[in-house]
């Protein structure tokens, strides 16, 4: 059984936001008017957060793409009163929109703030309505949504592999954000497979997990240097 995970190399990320746009179009994420977005009601399954490091005048900004980290021990599942969210055997944390009652306990429980509530009827400007992805539903008003690791792509890849009578190979299935990343900063694959690129990168000394101390066991792993990294904080290694 694979355990899907993502590795993001922060040293390579250029903060171009291509991942957020790719995600938005792939998953029919609705547009929120600027006024409402300013109230924090924007929906964005993956955001590039500016992490400011250091103190003035030695400041630096580290752009950090943050999707749902798909915790192995997800706090969002424990608080859901209607079992509208679940983790599957492959480690993907999912939302079942038809069950969601919109109580937003999970959005509060998520330490990564990666769950969004549909405050409005989903709206797509102009020709965007014609360009919706038929493999993904358009969520109704009043439910919580989140990153699915492009699960529909996994299903498609599995079907294609089955039709070709072969096993699912590395690279057959990648989420839209990983596929689009022009800097090649994002890697995706099976963490359980020790020969996979992600598993090798996850073992690297630069690897760290976001908010690991909470015990959520996230499956999105970052590569960085310095204070944040999994190393000794002594800066770049040669």
């Amino acid at each position: 059984m694979p355990r899907w995970g993502m590795v993001i190399d922060l040293a390579k990320c250029t903060a171009c936001q291509a991942c957020t746009v790719a995600c938005q179009t792939e998953n029919n994420v609705p547009c929120v008017p600027p006024k409402e977005a300013a109230r924090g009601r924007i929906i964005s399954w993956i955001s590039v957060l500016p992490q400011i490091e250091g103190e003035y005048p030695r400041l630096s900004m580290r752009p950090t793409p943050l999707p749902c980290v798909h915790c192995d021990n997800p706090p969002c599942i424990r608080v859901c009163p209607v079992q509208a969210t679940a983790i599957n055997p492959e480690g993907v944390v999912r939302q079942i929109y038809a069950r969601c009652i919109g109580c937003r306990y999970c959005t509060n429980a998520c330490p990564y703030t990666r769950r969004m509530f549909n405050w409005y009827k989903p709206e797509f400007p102009g020709e965007f309505t014609e360009a919706l992805n038929p493999d993904v539903s358009v969520r109704p008003k009043g439910v919580v949504e989140k990153c699915t690791l492009c699960h529909h792509r996994l299903q498609k890849a599995r079907d294609e592999a089955r039709a070709a009578k072969r096993e699912l190979a590395e690279g057959d299935y990648v989420p839209a954000c990983v596929e689009i990343c022009p800097a090649g900063a994002m890697y995706f694959g099976d963490l359980e497979d020790h020969n996979s690129t992600v598993a090798a990168l996850a073992r690297s000394r630069r690897a760290f997990k976001p908010l690991e101390e909470l015990g959520t066991h996230p499956k999105v792993i970052y590569l960085a240097q310095g204070e944040w990294s999994g190393g000794d904080g002594q800066g770049p290694r040669t």
Partner: protein
């Protein structure tokens, strides 16, 4: 004011009782009427006749093997065989009339899943080799358009079959 026993109110009792009776009679009639409303199909299609002449399900429901939706046949597909009259049937003639008028056959889809469910015919038929009759019943014996779907699908129907055959019953596969 004395309500009960006041002559004006007592006079209304027969009307109220009559109203009640009328309400229930009309309600029951409406309910029975609803039970027997068969959808109006554009053509009184005879499945049995087509199957006995060697037409396979997938010849008309062309999407079954390749896509999520099985698809209902377009008038062009019908005309492919019925360009010239094969029988004396008035229904067959109507197909040509519709085609000549440049219209489309507005079939009523009977078997449906909930709108938020992603069901793939391809996955069930081409990959899992499930016979059509498993969900659609003995459609090849139907001589007229069926009144209702053979099965009404609930989540229990899907999960029951998936568990019985020990296949993946992950929430995400249908709810996405």
């Amino acid at each position: 004011m004395k309500l009960f026993g006041s002559p004006s109110l007592l006079n209304h009792i027969p009307y109220a009782a009559g109203g009640f009776v009328l309400f229930f009679v009309l309600g029951a009639a409406g309910f029975v009427g609803l039970q027997h409303t068969a959808p109006k199909q554009p053509i009184a299609f005879n499945h049995a006749k087509h199957v006995s002449n060697g037409v396979a399900c997938t010849d008309c429901h062309a999407g079954v093997q390749t896509q999520a939706k099985a698809t209902l046949p377009s008038v062009d597909l019908c005309i492919g065989c019925h360009q010239v009259a094969l029988t004396n049937s008035a229904e067959e003639e109507r197909v040509r009339t519709v085609a000549a008028a440049g219209q489309e056959l507005n079939w009523v889809q009977l078997t449906q899943t909930a709108p938020h469910i992603f069901f793939s015919h391809r996955r069930h038929v081409a990959v899992a080799h499930l016979p059509c009759a498993e969900c659609h019943g003995p459609m090849e014996q139907a001589t007229k358009p069926p009144d209702r779907a053979f099965r009404v699908f609930s989540m229990a129907t899907c999960i029951g079959c998936h568990q019985q055959h020990r296949v993946n019953a992950d929430c995400n596969d249908c709810h996405r």
